[in-house]
């Protein structure tokens, strides 16, 4: 019953976020600040992880090709498919649920604990719109992060494949172009948009409705990471079934 009540209050929160908008001149600044914090601030870690994940996928694929009958361009093909379909959108989103999600929960949670949210409400500000809406808008830029993760992941695969001596550059590139289905990119971006909304809203919910003090802020951050990850995994399954099944 508690879970049902939480799901209900999550959707009520979403409705409230879009009510009584904050003045545009103020909101514009907040959106730019959130883009800087949530998107630009995450690029470094995403590039780093994507590069090495792409590299590991290429090496693992190469090491598992034992039959000489299997063409070496499979390394490029497998890297592309793995990175575009799953590693870039889903794996990156789990990382973002940890990095961005815990930041959102702890920052909003601290505002709750120190009565800053009460202060906003008393001033007549719709605190949910003021705090959560800019995060949702900023996270709409998330597909750009995913596009970068795809590019860097495949590049990492190429570096590992070619410089590790597992494949020639020509074989790898041939594999990248083999049986390419453009809809896979669309599928990946659809997923990333949905995950972006989850990463912006679930941690906000946990921060906004938290009760207690500093210790509870930490607990709320952990809970929000767990739930964001769980929901991402379930939604990933549902979307895959709907879009590719």
């Amino acid at each position: 019953m508690n879970y049902l009540a939480s799901i209900g209050s999550y959707f009520i929160m979403i409705k409230e976020v879009f009510k009584k908008p904050t003045k545009w001149s103020v909101m514009k600044q907040l959106i730019l600040k959130e883009i800087d914090e949530l998107i630009y601030g995450s690029l470094g870690i995403i590039i780093f992880i994507s590069f090495f994940i792409g590299g590991v996928v290429a090496i693992q694929t190469a090491l598992n090709i034992t039959s000489p009958l299997i063409p070496r361009n499979l390394i490029g093909f497998a890297t592309r498919q793995s990175v575009i379909l799953e590693f870039a959108p889903t794996f990156t989103s789990i990382i973002m649920a940890g990095k961005v999600g815990s930041y959102i929960t702890s920052s909003i949670g601290t505002m709750r604990v120190t009565e800053q949210i009460d202060a906003l409400e008393i001033m007549g500000v719709n605190s949910l719109n003021y705090l959560v809406f800019p995060k949702i808008i900023a996270m709409l830029f998330y597909p750009f992060v995913i596009a970068i993760a795809m590019y860097v992941g495949i590049f990492g695969g190429w570096v590992a494949g070619v410089f590790g001596g597992f494949s020639s550059s020509a074989d790898f590139v041939e594999g990248l172009q083999l049986d390419f289905i453009p809809f896979h990119i669309t599928y990946s971006f659809i997923k990333s948009i949905v995950f972006a909304l989850l990463i912006a809203t679930i941690p906000s919910y946990h921060g906004y409705y938290m009760k207690g003090g500093a210790l509870e802020v930490g607990k709320a951050s952990t809970t929000s990471f767990v739930w964001t990850s769980v929901v991402i995994i379930i939604v990933n399954y549902v979307l895959t079934q709907l879009l590719l099944g």
């Binding site: 009510k19 009584k20 601290t110 800053q116 009460d118 202060a119 409400e121 008393i122 007549g124």
Partner: protein, 255 residues
């Protein structure tokens, strides 16, 4: 004027407010006192609209809060200023940013006009050199003064303070009390203060409400509190040896 009529508030099985009624007049400093757990904070949060009441009404110059629409309630809140116990300043903004915040949200003033207004109120609370500092870089007393400046920057009709001098040294606490009292008279505001501080009671309590177990036990002014025979009030107000002696002297002088 704020009129509170028979308000009740419960949390689960805990009945916190059990029918409190009172009136808070314009231009007066009204104090809510009582032991911890007596319902003071819940009472002030009901006045602010942060908690809805289970029963009873609160009206602001004739407008009954619970009968207003969500937007009307938010508009009414723009006429309220609040000084929180922990100041509740926005950490990410400078002192000036905090004070200018309500102006930026609800007025069409240019940046220079907002800065001018922020300067006026910061000067009024005797903070001149702290404009560019962040809340974490200033003392507790200064934070309280910034919170007061932010609360009055929009010329509110109603000012609420939750233990404004808690955690402050006695001298700063008196300064804060006097500042709130002067501002109340100067801006003709209805001020309601939730406090434990007996100095505040004696110094600025033009009207005092004593809450006990969610009920209004006593009501009067700082002059009347000396004369009261209500045991619960005297036990609470004169719990320290110093105040006991002060009262004894007052009674002896009167006799």
């Amino acid at each position: 004027m704020i009129e509170v009529n028979n308000i009740h508030k419960s949390f689960g099985d805990t009945h916190v407010l059990k029918g409190v009624s009172s009136q808070f007049e314009k231009g007066k400093t009204n104090l809510i006192i009582g032991q911890s757990g007596s319902g003071k904070t819940v009472f002030i949060k009901c006045l602010l609209g942060l908690f809805s009441t289970d029963k009873g009404t609160i009206s602001y110059d004739g407008k009954i809060y619970s009968e207003l629409t969500g937007d009307e309630q938010r508009n009414l809140r723009q006429e309220m200023g609040m000084v929180f116990q922990g100041s509740a300043l926005f950490d990410s903004m400078t002192v000036e940013g905090n004070v200018m915040f309500p102006l930026g949200m609800f007025t069409k003033q240019s940046k220079s006009e907002m800065q001018d207004r922020a300067n006026i109120v910061l000067k009024r609370v005797n903070l001149i050199d702290a404009h560019k500092k962040f809340p974490s870089e200033i003392s507790g007393g200064m934070q309280k003064r910034v919170a007061i400046a932010r609360a009055i920057v929009m010329n509110p009709k109603y000012l609420f303070c939750d233990e404004p001098n808690s955690g402050l040294d006695p001298k700063t606490a008196i300064l804060i009390d006097n500042l709130i009292h002067e501002i109340t008279q100067e801006y003709d505001i209805t001020t309601v203060i939730n406090t434990h501080d007996m100095n505040s009671v004696m110094e600025i309590g033009e009207k005092i409400i004593f809450l006990k177990n969610g009920l209004k036990e006593w009501e009067g002014s700082n002059k009347e509190i000396f004369k009261t025979d209500n045991e619960a009030v005297t036990d609470f107000v004169y719990s320290s040896e110093l105040f006991k002696k002060v009262r004894q002297m007052y009674i002896e002088e009167r006799n």
